[in-house]
Assembly symmetry: C2
Homo-oligomer: 555 residues x 2
């Protein structure tokens, strides 16, 4: 008990801070109530009539709980976690479930530990999940293998919050002993179960997996909700599900929905923010602002059993936003544990000089040297190739139709952790990049090198230009015309966010000068074309792999 809190709540002692005369979100009843919000230390003392040592005029403004991004990978934004939070917190999010799945696939425990160290001085609650699938499938060659014993040891040692998205759903359904060991290690478990339904879904849920962020349509959502899952309405930069799923939400099942971003690129992080973008879209789809805010706050904390967070109520953690509107379009102030941490979109905390030591994560790219002759694949009409589409990471397997490979790109996946020389190749239809190549060390989930182009010379140069640290490279007609270095595990840049944004903009501008299908962003899409847990065909370091048949089509 905190005597001062009770004294403040009772009105006997002045509050540390009062937001006067605001519209206060009542996420329990789904309404706004006019009143004063009193804060004492790290908690909300109450709302009603109060005076405070510090008073902020809230007239015509809105106080609401700050938001919780229930599933994200910091690595996706390609900047350091501290830099990510410098941007995400002022945009209204003070709680995060971070799954360091990508860096764990490159650098195991060292990588996970780095992520924790990065955020420890940031005013936000970051709940780290233990990556469950390193590698995501036995077929992959990642930088690390974490079995059940590792999962248990690391999660206990580092005090992790739960088990990260369990994407190897066949292992769960088939009662794989190592997977069962992982599931036993942590009580909270996030899911990843695209298209799973019926008895297979029941088997997956017998493991008490809590959430899913991979639903494709309303029927899938309703079934998953009916079986006890919390369904994430995900709105990332690459994967955008909110609009196609929100039709499943009604007043009765609203409590079972939460918001996440999963992935975010740096441009969207700057311009759209993260969960406020989910709120905005939900409201555009016709949801009331207070319902969208409830999903963004109370629901998320309830889902994960985090008590006394996510509402403006006595005794609750004083994590809240002061907005000029009822849907967090304009966030004027962000409070975390009673302290003002951001104002008018700018952080009031400085991450400079507080970042974790990344030296062990540099020079992570280890490959056997490549020659131009490596970037050749004999073409045959009728051979299986990969067809890609805008706005989805799902691919199709089709038969090559042309007499030659004209109009197709060659894609290669080069193992980059142990310099094995392994290299998978296939043709890709749908991007049509001409006179150049793109290469990168970001390639879910093993993060080997992916390179795509229409000629061997440019593809070799793109790969060579990645260097020992890795990154994104762009080559046009024999010349490197753009690069974003990703020195930290080949996944994140050491630059501050602002410079990373500028560098990425220059890279994308250079890309824009090239000839390809402009409805697709090749760097983002390529990073998912190696992910063999998403249908239908993907390319790894061994060859073209059919996810639906779970076998190589050629290697």
């Amino acid at each position: 008990m905190d005597k001062k809190l009770t004294d403040v709540a009772a009105g006997r002692v002045k509050a540390d801070l009062v937001i006067k005369n605001a519209f206060v979100a009542d996420v329990f009843n789904g309404r706004f109530i006019r009143g004063d919000v009193a804060v004492c230390g790290e908690r909300i003392a109450g709302f009603g009539e109060y005076s405070g040592v510090e008073e902020i005029d809230g007239t015509d403004k809105y106080v609401m709980p700050s938001f919780y991004d229930t599933h994200l990978h910091f690595e996706s934004v390609m900047i350091r976690p501290s830099e990510y939070l410098k941007l995400a917190v002022p945009r209204g999010v003070t709680a995060f479930n971070a799954d360091p799945h990508e860096i764990a696939n490159v650098a195991g425990e060292t990588g996970i530990k780095f992520m924790l160290d990065e955020v420890k001085d940031i005013p936000a609650d970051v709940y780290f999940m233990m990556p469950s699938c390193v590698p995501s499938a036995a077929e992959d060659h990642s930088g690390c293998v974490l079995d059940a014993a590792d999962v248990k040891r690391i999660s206990q040692k580092l005090g992790l919050f739960g088990l990260g998205e369990v994407m190897n759903f066949p292992a769960v359904i088939n009662a794989d002993p190592d997977m069962f060991g992982k599931l036993d290690a942590l009580e909270i478990k996030d899911g990843h179960a695209p298209s799973l339904s019926g008895n297979a879904l029941n088997a997956y849920l017998s493991a008490r997996i809590l959430t899913d962020h991979e639903c494709a349509d309303v029927d899938e959502v309703l079934e998953k909700v009916s079986k006890g899952m919390y369904v994430m309405l995900r709105e990332g930069s690459q994967t955008k599900n909110l609009k196609s799923l929100i039709g499943a939400v009604n007043k009765t099942n609203l409590r079972r929905f939460i918001f996440c971003t999963d992935d975010r690129n740096v441009e969207d992080l700057f311009e759209l923010g993260t969960i406020k973008n989910n709120v905005r879209l939900a409201v555009e789809c016709g949801m009331s602002p207070i319902d969208a805010i409830t999903i963004a706050s109370l629901n998320a904390f309830e889902a994960y059993g985090i008590k006394y967070h996510g509402a403006i109520a006595p005794g609750y953690s004083a994590d809240f936003l002061l907005c000029s509107d009822d849907a967090a379009r304009n966030i004027e102030r962000v409070y975390y544990r009673g302290g003002l941490v951001a104002k008018d979109g700018k952080p009031l905390f400085d991450v400079t000089g507080k970042t974790a030591d990344a030296s062990a994560l540099k020079g992570s790219v280890r490959i056997k040297p490549v020659t131009e002759s490596d970037f050749v694949l004999p073409y045959k009409k009728g051979m299986p190739i990969m067809r890609v589409f805008p706005n989805t990471v799902v691919t199709e397997c089709v038969e090559a139709a042309g007499k030659t490979a004209d109009g197709l790109d060659l894609m290669c996946c080069i193992e980059r952790h142990d310099a094995s020389g392994d290299m998978g190749k296939c043709y890709v239809d749908g991007i049509g990049l001409k006179g150049g190549a793109v290469a990168q060390t970001v390639g879910h989930d093993a993060h080997n090198i992916t390179v795509l182009g229409d000629n061997a010379r440019d593809m070799k140069l793109a790969v060579d230009s990645l260097g020992a640290d890795g990154g994104l490279t762009l080559v046009k007609n024999g010349k490197l015309i753009g690069k974003l270095p990703l020195e930290i595990a080949g996944l994140m840049t050491a630059m501050p966010a602002e410079r990373a944004l500028q560098t990425r903009k220059e890279l994308l501008a250079a890309l824009d000068g090239m000839d390809y299908n402009k409805r697709i962003e090749p760097f983002m899409l390529l990073s998912f074309l190696t992910l063999i847990v998403i249908p239908d065909v993907k390319l790894n370091h061994k060859g073209l792999f059919s996810v639906s048949k779970w076998k190589y089509l050629y290697n």
Copy 2:
């Protein structure tokens, strides 16, 4: 992880039990879905299409989670807890929050321990709360005083679930150190805060008190919900709030409501059951059956943070009902942890010979012998007296209007734990018992002797007839015409429920032959007329006490 559960869920192995082709409650989406429910061991494997070692035809029947009574005092029913559960479980409840507040006020830790021992072999989840207010006010003389150190010690020693209803709200609001010590002892805390609102309510909730079951109207409910409380829609035998509060429930805030009974008499327990009666009334008030069932199950488990209970979903505890209708009017079967524990209203478990040792709780009535001259109070026109009303335990303080005491009854409260001889007296308007007296050792919360009558001779006889063990007695014109012995702490009978019911019926039949206001049940009402935490005037062993003024009017 449980491999067999996953195997069953996946359909690879036959379930232990399947309810075939039933309407299955989907409390997450608020609907019924037709399907088979598969059970493996103590858990639900899934619903869909299944075959089982045992199969029950569920065609045209309804499967729903069994219910959770979130607040009750076993003592109120005046039978042993094992006998209570023998009746309550077949009527659809398999989880109970029991607050042994009454027996703790008589016998402290010994009493609490007895209650735990009573239920340990019963197929139900009984979560015991640690009584927070023994005595409920410093003005009372109960059989025991439990301070913060006792609360901490006993709750840890006995592994209690939470802190029982914190009814001494002034102590919380005023930051009383002993109360703060109690509030610190347990994380889960039930509330009891009639009419509390505004900053006083905020101060009460700064202690993170979770629930309230004392709301009087819709506005009070909405404020309490807005401040984070779960509001109990209570429907007991004496206190009935559901109909007056249900107007506050809407689709948005439904998740914040739970059901409880608080008190129950044995007739209602037999005839109406407990939480199924709340469900019935809610449906009569226009709520959909599935919403009422959700309040009775999922909401309650969510409120108390008990995971994987309260729904028919994979991995959930297999506690469920098979009903012939959608609102649990007719419960055919009750399953607890996958086992059939009741059928057609009859328990399949036997409590005979499994009850706890009650010998230490017998002979609990210790009073200084009384004479007829003790049962006299000089009458003066204008003196403050207590006015009582049907269907409420709230009283009014009025001035005596008549020239004589004609038409009024005399009530006395005799301290019965330490034979101190203390005895409070007042006149009562509203019952009008003539030519006799009632006496009892049940009197919230100190459980001193309460006796009411219109003449000293009958009042003395009623008290003497209680004996050393206590109970309820009824005297008419100098003759004991009815008695229910309550040998266990003067609160509960040692009889089986069926005989207790019969004895109570005989007692009430005898009462019916007397002349009094038949809209009031004197035994039940009297048990609350000594409770000085309920407004407006009550009588304790020291005299007539004004709750609103917090002082004796005379003693």
